[in-house]
């Protein structure tokens, strides 16, 4: 495998269109299936009634917001270490979609918090604050990149910021264990059985896959634009 072959934007470019199309179609199909399971197969929750159905977008969006940041930081680190041009472009292409999912996680969380906790928002709550900081990290990354004229220098400066911000990801993830927060603990974990009905879990995982596919498609489309602009 010639790893550096696709590190050149020009050789990568034709691939981006095909990946975007394939992942876009997969995202639409998975979202249709996930929404069907979420609204018509999964039962009403005994405690929360229908309000819990927000879970099918809230949890996948929150996962994506953190995962995209890790991928962005990975590309940033690769760019700093190997000085490959595509790395910085990939990091820049990921940031807006990551910010979007962070906003969606916060928005749906607020609308879910109101009926379950009695409030849309709590200042100082560890989970809510760390996720808000994630949104600002994405904004900071984009603003810093936009503020520096030379794209290669902008890549490097933004990459450093992205890497410093990585500390926030474990803080978000473990915030529910480390601090007192209104937010419930993880319903799904790799180390123990999920604490939810099988159909609810299926709907959530299918929606998570749909968001994955969407994110790949959106990032590929955006990196195409960046390659065209920067050449």
């Amino acid at each position: 495998m010639r790893w550096f072959w696709y590190a050149s934007p020009q050789t990568f470019f034709p691939l981006t269109g095909r990946i975007a199309l394939g992942c876009g179609i997969a995202a639409a199909l998975l979202a249709a299936a996930g929404l069907y399971i979420g609204f018509f197969v999964a039962p009403t929750d005994a405690q929360q009634g229908e309000a819990y159905r927000i879970i099918f977008i809230h949890v996948p969006a929150a996962w994506m917001s953190m995962f995209i940041y890790l991928v962005m930081a990975f590309w940033a680190a690769l760019g700093l270490a190997l000085n490959t041009r595509l790395s910085g472009m990939m990091a820049s292409a990921l940031a807006p979609t990551g910010a979007l999912f962070t906003f969606i996680a916060l928005w749906t969380g607020a609308l879910w918090g109101r009926p379950t906790w009695g409030t849309y928002w709590v200042w100082g709550d560890a989970r809510l604050m760390s996720e808000l900081i994630l949104l600002f990290l994405y904004f900071g990354f984009m603003a810093l990149h936009a503020a520096i004229e030379d794209p290669r220098r902008a890549d490097r400066a933004a990459a450093v910021l992205a890497l410093v911000g990585v500390v926030n990801i474990p803080i978000i993830y473990y915030s529910v264990q480390w601090w007192n927060t209104l937010h419930q603990g993880a319903s799904v974990s790799l180390t123990r059985a999920p604490t939810m009905a099988a159909t609810m879990l299926t709907g959530m995982l299918v929606m998570a896959l749909a968001f994955w596919m969407y994110s790949i498609a959106a990032t590929m489309l955006r990196v195409r634009g960046i390659i065209r602009e920067r050449g």
Binding site: T44, A61, T97, L111, L221, G225
Partner: protein, 39 residues
């Protein structure tokens, strides 16, 4: 149908979540495809 839309009294919370999410993703897709066709 109206019972479905009513969401057991949680219509604003459920549809407010799904509506804004769908709108955000739709706007992103439109912006990206716009850039794609302009060249």
């Amino acid at each position: 149908m109206s019972e479905f839309l009513h969401m057991g009294g949680y219509a604003w919370y459920v549809w407010g979540s799904y509506g804004v999410t769908f709108a955000c993703l739709a706007i992103e897709i439109i912006v990206l495809l716009n850039r794609e066709t302009k060249k």
